[in-house]
């Protein structure tokens, strides 16, 4: 057992050294109409994308996305960014997602990751966790947690990609 563990550790170390961490893992999620969406197919015509993991029971997540909502139109004009808000609400709260989203008028694409398959494949420890992808669909920046003012950093990163 110890030997195989050692082999695994050594292999992972070398794989880490050679692997390129960039695009999205392939997982099936559902949109608000109950239709399947493949995460590997998420795209935005060569423009940047933000993928934000959130939940209805997570206060900083809602704060983050409510703040981004204030700037979304402006960011879209400047950079063409599209926001995917991936909820990790489980069966207890997932049915409140659509009513909540509509009540606060978010214009994001909402995807439901009800058993956390996608969030785990993306290495999310706990929400909020935000990923920025460039036009090629490569992850170029990420941020854990939300504190007021983080939107400035997101904006700077978006502008970096656009220019």
């Amino acid at each position: 057992m110890k030997k195989s563990l050692f082999i695994l550790v050594a292999l992972f170390a070398s794989v880490v050294a050679s692997a390129q961490v960039s695009s999205l893992p392939s997982v099936t999620l559902k949109n608000l109409d109950g239709k399947d969406v493949q995460t590997a197919d998420l795209s935005n015509d060569g423009k940047p994308m933000l993928i934000c993991f959130w939940a209805t029971w997570c206060s900083p997540c809602k704060k983050e996305l409510n703040t981004y909502a204030d700037y979304y139109e402006e960011w879209q004009k400047e950079t063409g960014v599209k926001i995917y808000a991936v909820t990790i609400d489980d069966q207890r709260t997932v049915n409140s997602v659509k009513p909540y989203v509509n009540s606060v008028s978010w214009e994001y694409e909402i995807l439901s990751d009800v058993n956390k398959t996608f969030s785990q494949a993306m290495g999310v420890n706990s929400p909020p966790h935000t990923f920025l992808l460039n036009g090629k669909g490569e992850i170029v920046w990420q941020h854990v947690g939300y504190t007021p003012g983080d939107e400035e950093e997101v904006h700077e990163q978006l502008l970096k990609l656009a220019h």
Binding site: S26, R92, K98, V101, Q120, V144, P148
Partner: protein, 558 residues
């Protein structure tokens, strides 16, 4: 061991391919992963009843590594408990591999061998999942096949054992779980319906567990334990313009187990949710009926061990400390009937109540009672326990939860959040406290004010009050947090149980922490007193003992 060698070989192959075919991005493998290390030291503190383990400190660590190469994925999770943090299952110990799998995922075929997580429908018949912050992992260890013969149809099959324990390696539970599930999206299958506003999804599943059973004796009668127990479920999902509806029904055959006192009665559960929403407004209504639906792959297991299905509470998942951790409700698996409703509304910008930025209001109401049952007496009671009279409310109140939230951004600098909660909570049925058995009547108020005095600098203050004449009496909480985006946060919190009838227990729980985030990494260092309470994530809660000491939590993803 053989399996980890197999995973190692696959990784080796993947690595050699990626080295043999350098150049374009498509030929390179992808590695994703995350690590978490949680350390806590424990100081004695009699006043709060803090427990101090022999080792005086504890540390939980895990690291997930997922390597994808084309259509192949291999994943491993290392886990280490030196020893397990208090509040986690204390039988978790040692270091080793806690999960490992290989997966092949082509266009319409997805095969996983090893550990995996899956959910059928709403989870009434089957859900395996991982919640590391609660120590919950009922992963399957076996095989999963997902096949999509054509667009709009998904078939799933699972077969394996469930993870029960960790002792330097995965220890699986006693039983074997087999399940199949099918889901059809009618609008994708029936071509003329593709663009219709009415979207209909139908699904069904069958899950069976095997555990060899012997006989047992009760009141000088001898009973045979069933070796195989099956559960069937059917579900419907409908979306029509601004309306949505989802419903599921599950029926389980006789399953004598530790939860139900080894009775042979059938189990049943029904869940409905309907919702309507449009810009600025949302409303939902739910109903749930649960009768004898504890379903585990080991009939003698209890609490968090080897559950096959998932029946979350119908009450709201609260976020503010006093409301979330003193009286959180969890589904009574042996039987309950509940209803809930929610309303979300945003008063428009520039309206009288909306002001410059709009005002958000939400109201949530939930009520859960016992089943409406009667005694049957005689031999029937010996076998089936009780009889259900109707789907309606029984006489015993389990919980009432009414809460109203108002959120308002006053200007660019100031925003305020106010919540009032009213609870009636039966601690005989949901034993969240040792100090009181009966109905706790509690009123909780929270005011949360945020002041953003510079673009990246904010101060947030929370005041919380809980008023009750039962259990531990009144509580107050004050919290002040200063954040400096995007890296730093500093917080100090005091909880004071000023209303405790025992004057020695009127203690201040003072706790402070500092957090630093950079990219995908975050470190939190905290010090102080934490009271005993119930710690919940998503729909699941675990009891955490009182402690006094340093806590360090490091997380990172890549």
């Amino acid at each position: 061991m053989r399996f980890s060698i197999a995973v190692a070989s696959l990784l080796l192959c993947a690595k050699s391919w990626s080295q043999e075919q350098p150049g374009t991005t498509e030929n390179k493998g992808q590695l994703h992963g995350n690590v978490q290390a949680l350390f806590q030291n424990y100081n004695p503190d009699e006043a709060i009843g803090a427990q101090v383990p022999d080792a005086k400190a504890a540390m939980n660590t895990f690291g997930n590594f997922t390597y994808t190469y084309g259509q192949f994925t291999a994943g491993v999770r290392f886990e280490s408990y030196q020893n397990a943090i208090l509040g986690f299952p204390n039988r978790f110990k040692g270091s080793g591999i806690g999960s490992r799998y290989v997966r092949y995922n082509a266009d319409n075929l997805d095969i996983t061998v090893g550990n995996f997580y899956e959910q059928f429908g709403n989870g009434l018949s089957y859900r395996t999942y991982w919640e590391p912050n609660l120590g919950i992992d009922n992963a399957m260890d076996g095989v999963r096949i997902i096949y999509k013969p054509f667009k709009g149809v998904a078939l799933k099959a699972v077969y394996g054992q469930q993870r029960y324990d960790f002792d330097s390696r995965i220890i699986n539970g006693a039983g074997i779980v087999r399940g199949i599930d099918g889901e059809v999206s009618l609008n994708e299958v029936v071509k003329p319906w593709a663009e219709k506003p009415l979207k209909v999804t139908l699904g069904g599943s069958f899950v069976s567990k095997y555990q060899s059973g012997e006989t047992f004796e009760r009141d000088s009668s001898v009973f045979n334990l069933p070796n195989n127990v099956g559960a069937s479920a059917g579900r419907l999902g409908v979306v029509y313009k601004n309306f949505q509806f989802t419903g599921e029904y599950v029926l389980k055959i006789n399953d004598p187990n530790a939860d139900n006192g080894y009775i042979f009665k059938r189990g049943e559960s029904i869940f409905f949710n309907g919702a309507f929403s449009k810009k600025g407004f949302g409303v939902t209504a739910s109903a749930k009926y649960v009768d004898n639906m504890a379903f585990r792959s080991d009939r003698d297991a209890l609490l968090f061990d080897v559950p096959i299905n998932f029946l979350p509470a119908i009450t709201r998942q609260h976020t503010y400390n006093l409301a979330a951790t003193l009286y959180p409700y969890a589904t009574v698996l042996n039987g309950e009937v509940g209803v809930s409703g929610e309303l979300f509304y945003t008063f428009k910008k520039e309206s009288a109540l909306g002001g410059k930025y709009g005002t958000y209001v939400s109201l949530n109401v939930a009520a859960v009672n016992s089943l409406d049952t009667s005694h049957v007496g005689g031999r029937d009671e010996l076998i089936n326990g009780y009889e259900v009279n109707s789907f309606g409310f029984g006489d015993t109140k389990f919980v009432r939860d009414v809460n109203l939230e108002i959120r308002k951004k006053i200007n660019k600098a100031w925003s305020v959040n106010f919540i009032h909660y009213y609870f009636e909570f039966n601690t005989k049925v949901t034993p969240v406290t040792q100090d009181f058995k009966g109905i706790v009547y509690a009123n909780i108020d929270v005011i949360d004010v945020q002041y953003k005095f510079k673009p990246k600098h904010s101060i947030r203050a929370e005041l919380q009050s809980l008023i009750t004449e039962q259990d531990k009496g009144n509580w107050a909480t004050a919290l002040v947090e200063y954040t400096f985006s995007p890296h730093w946060s500093f917080a100090v919190m005091d909880q004071y149980n000023y209303g405790n009838s025992d004057s020695e227990k009127r203690v201040h729980y003072l706790y402070g922490n500092i957090g630093y985030s950079k990219g995908a990494s975050r470190i939190m260092v905290g010090y102080g007193k934490r009271r005993a309470g119930i710690f919940c994530i998503g729909g699941v809660c675990r009891a955490v003992p009182a402690s006094n000491g340093i806590e360090i939590n490091l997380t990172s993803s890549f």
